[in-house]
C-alpha cells in the first residue's frame, strides 16, 4: 500500500495556542481513514491545513509525492483533494445542479470568449458537464432534486449535495468533516453506504472526521486520534479502542490516573 497523503510533523499555531502539534500521519490510497478526538482537538484545523485554508508553521504535507504547503486552496483542489464542511456551506441560492457545476469548475476549460460566442466546443463541454453533474447527483442519491434551490433541500440532502459538489472536482482524496452530524440513523446509514461506494466504485480515498463512534468503528480501516492537537493514537479501530490514552482523552485524566505520560497541556 502506497501512501497517498503523508503528513510530517505538521504544526499549526493560533496566537499562543497550538491547534495542531507535530502530527505525523499517512493515509493509504483507496483507504477509509477516520480522524477522531474530543471537541477542540484540532481536527478541523488539520483539514484546513490540508486544503490550504491554513498554512502550517512547521511540517510537510505530501500528496501523491508532492508538497501541498503554500499552495492556494484552488490549486490543492486541482491536485485532487476535495472536502465537505462540518457546518454545511453550500451556495445557498444556487440549485443543486449549479452547486455541482461549480464543483466541476476546475475540470472545465472552455475559454470565456468561447462562452460569449457559444462555440460548439464550449457547448459540448457545458452539456457534458451538466450530464456528469446529473450523474453525480444520482450517484449520491439526489436524483430528481437537480433544480431545487439548495437552501430548500432537507438537511440530510444538503450533506449529500456537499459530497456531490466535492466529487465535481474529480478528487482522489475526499475529506469529509463530520458527514453524519445531525443525521438520523437511516440517513447515517445512507451516508455510510455512500462512503463505501465512493471508495469501491470511484476509487476515492476517504479521510473523515466523525464523532459518532458507531460510524467510525464500522466504516474505518484505520483511525487516528487527536487530542490537544497531538496525535495520541493510530491504528485499526480495535487497536484504538483499546488504547489507554484514547480512553483518557475522551473520559478525562482522573479515570486514567495510572498513566504517567499525560497529554501536554495547552
Amino acid at each position: 500500500m502506497t501512501a497517498l497523503l503523508s503528513l510530517q510533523r505538521v504544526t499549526k499555531v493560533f496566537g499562543g495556542l497550538t491547534a495542531v502539534d507535530n502530527v505525523d500521519l499517512e493515509i493509504a490510497e483507496r483507504s477509509i481513514t477516520s480522524l477522531i478526538g474530543p471537541n477542540g482537538a484540532g481536527k478541523t484545523t488539520l483539514f484546513n491545513c490540508l486544503t490550504g485554508l491554513h498554512r502550517p508553521e512547521v511540517g510537510e504535507i505530501l500528496f501523491d509525492g508532492s508538497s501541498l504547503i503554500g499552495l492556494r486552496p484552488d490549486e490543492i483542489t486541482d491536485r485532487g483533494v476535495a472536502r465537505t464542511y462540518q457546518n454545511i456551506r453550500l451556495f445557498g441560492r444556487m440549485t443543486a445542479l449549479e452547486n455541482v457545476l461549480v464543483g466541476q469548475h476546475l475540470r472545465l476549460h472552455a475559454s470565456h470568449w468561447s462562452a460569449v460566442l457559444r462555440t460548439r466546443r464550449q457547448q459540448e463541454e457545458e452539456h457534458a458537464a451538466r450530464e456528469s453533474a446529473r450523474a453525480l447527483l444520482s450517484f449520491v442519491g439526489l436524483h430528481g432534486r437537480e433544480e431545487v434551490v439548495s437552501t430548500n433541500l432537507p438537511y440530510g440532502d444538503q450533506r449529500l449535495l456537499e459530497v456531490a459538489r466535492a466529487l465535481g472536482s474529480q478528487p482522489r482524496l475526499l475529506l469529509l468533516d463530520e458527514p453524519a452530524a445531525g443525521m438520523n440513523p437511516s440517513e447515517t446509514d445512507r451516508m455510510m453506504e455512500l462512503v463505501h461506494r465512493l471508495r469501491d466504485e470511484k476509487g476515492i480515498t476517504i479521510f473523515l472526521i466523525e464523532h459518532d463512534m458507531k460510524v467510525v468503528m464500522s466504516i474505518s480501516e484505520s483511525v487516528a486520534v487527536l487530542d490537544y492537537g497531538e496525535k495520541i493514537a493510530e491504528g485499526t479501530p480495535e487497536e484504538v479502542r483499546a488504547d489507554a490514552r484514547v480512553v483518557e482523552a475522551y473520559l478525562g485524566p482522573e479515570v486514567a490516573v495510572q498513566e504517567t505520560a499525560g497529554p501536554a497541556s495547552a
Binding site: L17, A41, T44, N48, L53, R72, N87
Partner: protein, 357 residues
C-alpha cells in the same frame, strides 16, 4: 478552537499568502516612497516648528468634527450593518437649525450680554441643533430604514442615498440656496496666541467638546444598561430580542445618540467655519465615513482615532509631502487604501463573522 466553525476571514488570510505578500510589498513600497518624499521634499522646505504645530492643531479640530460624525456611522453600522449615507445631512440639519436659533438669540441681544448668559445661550443653541438632528435621525430610521430591515444589504444603502438627496434639496427649497452665515459672539471669536501658533477659540471648543462627548458616549456604551443592550443587539439581534431587549427601541436610541453627536458637530462647525448651507453636510459626511472605515467600522475607539488621524493627515499631509493642498483628499483616500492593505478590517477592526458581514 478547532471544532468551532472556521470564521471566514481567519481562514481566508492564510490561504492567499502570495497575494498578501504582493499587496504588502506594494504597500511597503508606497510607505518607503512617502518617507523618502517627506524627508527630501517636505522637511527640506524648512517650515518652522510653529507651522507644523499649527497644522497639527488644525488637523485635530478637523478630526474632532469628523470623529463626532464618524461615531454616528459606526454606531449605526455596529447595530444594523448598514451605511447611513444620510448621516452627513443629519449633521447639516443640526447646523441649519443652530443658525436659526442663533439668529433668534442675536435678535434678542443675548449674545452681547454677560458671559454667563452667552454661554447658556450657546449651550442652548447647541442643544436645539442636536434636538433637530435627533428628530431627523429618528424620522430617517422610521421612514427610510425600518421598513427595509430584512431587505438585502444594498437596498437600505440606496434608500439612504435617496434620503440624503431628499434632505439636501428639501433644505434648499425651504431655506433657500444661499449659505447662512453664523455670527460669532465676541466671547468666542478670536483665539489664543502662543508665540507663532494661533488657536481659535472655536477650534479649541470643538476639540474639547468632542472629546467630552466621545467620553460620554463611551461611558454610556460601556457602563449603562442601555449600552449593554446596544452591545447585545450589535452582537446578535435575534438572541438579544429573546433575552428581552427591545430591539426596535435600542435601534432608535442608537440613531438618537448618533444624530445628537452629528447635530453637535453641525452647530460647532457652524460657529467654527461660519457658513452652513444645504449641501454642507455631504463632504464632512463622506470624510467621516472614511474615518469610520479607517478605524474599523463598527468600532467606537476606531472611529475616534480614525477621524483624528484623517484630520491630521489632511492638514499636514500636503505640506509634508511638498505637494499642492488640493491633493489633500487624494492623500486621505490613499492613506485609507494603504491602511486597509495592511489591515483589511481597519485599524481597530474586529473580525466579523460572515453571518453579520
Amino acid at each position: 478552537m478547532t471544532s468551532r466553525p472556521v470564521t471566514a476571514r481567519a481562514a481566508g488570510t492564510d490561504g492567499r499568502a502570495a497575494l498578501k505578500h504582493f499587496t504588502r510589498a506594494f504597500g511597503a513600497a508606497i510607505v518607503i516612497l512617502v518617507v523618502w518624499r517627506v524627508t527630501t521634499v517636505g522637511l527640506a522646505e524648512g517650515y518652522p516648528a510653529s507651522f507644523w504645530i499649527s497644522q497639527a492643531l488644525n488637523g485635530l479640530v478637523l478630526g474632532g468634527v469628523y470623529a463626532l460624525v464618524a461615531l454616528g456611522y459606526t454606531l449605526v453600522y455596529g447595530i444594523l450593518f448598514m451605511i447611513n449615507f444620510a448621516h452627513g445631512e443629519v449633521m447639516m440639519i443640526g447646523g441649519i437649525t443652530g443658525y436659526f436659533a442663533l439668529q433668534f438669540a442675536l435678535a434678542r441681544g443675548w449674545m452681547e450680554g454677560p458671559w454667563a448668559i452667552v454661554v447658556i445661550a450657546l449651550l442652548t443653541i447647541m442643544v436645539i441643533g442636536m434636538a433637530a438632528s435627533v428628530l431627523i435621525g429618528v424620522a430617517l430610521e422610521r421612514l427610510a430604514y425600518r421598513p427595509l430591515r430584512q431587505a438585502p444589504r444594498l437596498v437600505p444603502l440606496i434608500s439612504a442615498i435617496g434620503a440624503s438627496l431628499f434632505l439636501q434639496y428639501s433644505v434648499l427649497l425651504i431655506f433657500g440656496v444661499s449659505p447662512h452665515s453664523y455670527r460669532k459672539p465676541a466671547l468666542i471669536s478670536g483665539g489664543l496666541r502662543l508665540g507663532d501658533v494661533f488657536i481659535p477659540y472655536t477650534g479649541a471648543i470643538i476639540f474639547i467638546t468632542s472629546i467630552l462627548l466621545m467620553l460620554a458616549l463611551y461611558f454610556i456604551i460601556q457602563r449603562t444598561k442601555l449600552g449593554r443592550a446596544m452591545r447585545a443587539v450589535a452582537e446578535d439581534r435575534a438572541t438579544a430580542s429573546l433575552m428581552g431587549v427591545d430591539v426596535n427601541a435600542v435601534i432608535v436610541v442608537t440613531f438618537m445618540l448618533g444624530s445628537a453627536l452629528a447635530g453637535a458637530a453641525g452647530v460647532m462647525l457652524g460657529f467654527h467655519n461660519t457658513v452652513v448651507k444645504f449641501n454642507s453636510g455631504f463632504i464632512p459626511g463622506l470624510k467621516a465615513f472614511t474615518a469610520a472605515v479607517l478605524g474599523g467600522i463598527g468600532n467606537i475607539p476606531g472611529a475616534m482615532f480614525g477621524a483624528l488621524i484623517l484630520g491630521l493627515i489632511e492638514a499636514i499631509g500636503p505640506s509634508a509631502l511638498g505637494i499642492p493642498t488640493e491633493y489633500k483628499d487624494v492623500i486621505a483616500f490613499s492613506l485609507l487604501v494603504l491602511i486597509l492593505i495592511f489591515r483589511p478590517t481597519g485599524l481597530f477592526g474586529e473580525v466579523l463573522s460572515e453571518k453579520k458581514a
